[in-house]
Amino acid sequence: MIAVCLKWVDRRPDPARAIVVAEPDERFAGVSAADQAALEWALRQRDRVGGEVVALTVGPSAAEAILRDASAAGADRAIRIDLAFGAPSRTVATALAGVVGEASTIWCGDYSFDRGTGSVPAFLAHDLGVAQALGLVAVEFTDAGIVALRRLDGGRRERLSITRPAVLSVEGSTALLRRASLRNLLASPIIERVGAGGGHADALHPVEARPYRPRPRVLPAPAGATALDRVRSLTAAGSATAAHGETVTLEPAAAADRILAALVEWGYIP
């Protein structure tokens, strides 16, 4: 089984809203380009190695529209997990994990339109205890399996050989979803409905809605007696650059402490 997880969202995100809790206007609702790419990769994988593609979404009944579209594009089965719109990623991932446990590959988009954080695929991989490859910018099917390119900080890339089962999240630029045929659009797909098992209780109830602002990064004051020195200190202009990194081998708890200390030292967290 090849699973693809699709999020039903308003395709006109309002950046002034911190948390989107209202159900989308159905006229403007759909899936992100990343989710479309995920579906396309699932279909390509099936076309290459066989099996069945199961499209899933978590949401209210109106979200079934995207499952009908996925079926028209070629998904073999469609499952909606009934949950109120706006459930947190953790709840969504748990609900999905209860259904996709048998899947060899689980495709997701790496973010949704409503300023998603891409955390559902990570939670999902954790819940299932399977490998994860997130933020993929290229995917290739080889005789040996799936090879993917992952985006890293600083413009670097990481080439991964995927061992299945795995959760893969792809960027929207990786594939263009095939156009559904008219016959498939006219067909009436059967959409399976599954309860989420108490997920409603965890739905988000924001106490404050405010515009999204990235967290400020606190930097220490630059050293230097003159303005020029301070600018040089800030930008390292005129001096050879060197990677500021170290490799340490620590137990998990100690490693976590070390990471937190480094983040404080670099000014990412206070």
Partner: protein, 443 residues
């Protein structure tokens, strides 16, 4: 031509394909679906109304027959309770203002509406009735059977041919399907105007105050003489917290004058009679759209074998000066097309003669009666005299009448009219001819 085999439901994908989920298409689909027909309603946009060019007044009285008490649920912006006709020159404006409080109450008269809301609502009625709505799909052509009759459509989707007993083309002003079927004669740009519209945002309270309305009451202002050297007209419509300001411009004149429509709107917005209404507004949208405005003289052949035209595709838009209507003609023609097709399918005859009930219905109702009655109106309203000489004449007469020139005594109205007619350069003969034409059209 009777070809029962060609109408066998088992061999067809649908009984009827309706192309375009605008007001005409959705009304046709509602009628057909309620009659138990298999209807596929194909829409090019991602949802009905998504093109969102419209900025006008909808007169949904015709919906009484399809959706009783439609006003309780129709997504409108404001009910028009105030209609103004403004005659304008560069520095003068004369306004005839009419207000009717009853129009703000059921069963209402006209309303401003956003078409993404209105069309989606109407299409949903068709879906509820049983029509199959397919969006994001462009119909690229017509299919024909061996006898040459229309038998379906081709679309831009894979495996995208679809067969049906009848195709109702509601694909808008520039109907490629009607042209493909040869239902239009030679294309004449003079039959069309270009409608351009700005949607300007203002707080609701500001709109209420500036336009003198409250609650969901709204205003419709039609303007003559605001289009520079280009023949046409202007309009302002109030939505809840936006106003639609725009122009309709005759295409040949617009091309000949080499003027940009957005510059003409900007000039109109600077006019002393308009500037206070739009001051401080934020531009939210700008759009442009062709309008079939030549009335009955440009109507295409409305039916072919296995095919009907409705709405703008059939050029059923009434542009007769004080009456500027389109959506009601679209809804009515769609409705009558649906009824005619039900009748034709029952009789197993979808040839031109089998579909003749459509023309019959249009002739028997306001759709063609109004067009015939007002057949001279578009030419008169868009004539050079009405557009350029009469506004100057009328506003000058008003200015002379209301001006106090003491110690000179007040001149008589007849004398003012005679003097201003001469000054503006209107021949008595032309004035009389236009008066007769106006009486024949509007009388």
């Amino acid at each position: 031509m009777r070809d029962a085999g060609a109408l066998d439901p088992a061999t067809l994908d649908a009984d009827v394909i309706v192309v375009g989920a605008g007001p005409a298409g959705s009304c046709a689909a509602i009628v057909l679906a309620r009659a138990g027909k298999r209807v596929v309603l194909i829409e090019r946009g991602p949802f009905p109304g998504s093109k969102n060019m419209y900025g006008g007044v909808v007169y949904p009285r015709i919906l009484d027959q399809l959706i009783p008490n439609w006003w309780l649920e129709a997504p409108v912006q404001r009910w028009v309770t105030r209609r103004s006709t403004m005659i304008m020159t560069d520095d003068k404006a004369l306004t005839v203002d009419f207000r009717c409080e009853a129009w703000g109450k059921p069963p209402h008269n006209g309303a401003t509406a956003f078409r993404p809301d209105f069309d989606a609502w109407l299409a949903d009625k068709a879906v509820v009735a049983g029509a199959r709505l397919i969006c994001s799909t462009t119909v690229t052509g017509l299919l024909h059977n061996e006898a040459g009759a229309v038998s379906g459509v081709t679309t831009d989707r894979p495996d995208g041919d679809l067969t049906a007993a009848v195709v109702i083309a509601c694909d808008g002003v520039n109907s490629f399907l009607a042209k493909q079927e040869g239902l239009y004669g030679e294309f004449d740009a003079a039959n069309y105007t270009l409608g351009v519209k700005e949607t300007l945002a203002l707080p609701k309270e500001t709109i209420d105050e500036r336009f003198g309305v409250r609650g969901t009451d709204g205003v419709d202002i039609e303007i003559v003489g605001c289009t520079g050297g280009v023949n046409g007209g202007g309009f302002i419509y109030t939505n809840l917290d936006t106003i639609a300001v725009g122009l309709v411009l005759k295409l040949p004149k617009l091309a000949a004058q080499k003027q940009r429509p957005e510059e003409l709107i900007a000039t109109m917005k600077r006019h002393p009679a308009i500037a206070p209404l739009v001051e401080g507004a934020e531009l939210k949208e700008y759009s442009a759209h062709l309008i079939p405005e030549a009335g009955i003289s440009m109507l295409p052949t409305l039916s072919g074998n296995g095919m009907l035209l409705a709405g703008d595709a059939a050029a059923l838009c009434l542009a007769a000066g004080i009456w500027l209507e389109g959506v009601n003609f679209a809804m009515a023609s769609g409705m009558y097309a649906g009824e005619a097709v039900v009748e034709a399918l029952r009789a197993q005859d979808v040839t031109v003669s089998g579909l003749a009930g459509y023309q019959r219905r249009l002739e028997a109702t306001f759709v063609l009666k109004d067009h015939r009655k007002l057949k001279r109106a578009p030419e008169l309203v868009l004539s050079d005299r009405v557009q350029h000489l009469y506004p100057e004449f009328v506003t000058s007469v008003a200015e002379r009448m209301f001006r106090v020139d003491n110690p000179a005594p007040k001149p008589g109205v007849r004398r003012i009219i005679a003097q201003e007619r001469k000054r503006v350069g209107i021949r008595r003969r032309d004035l009389a001819a236009d008066g007769v034409a106006g009486l024949r059209s509007f009388g």
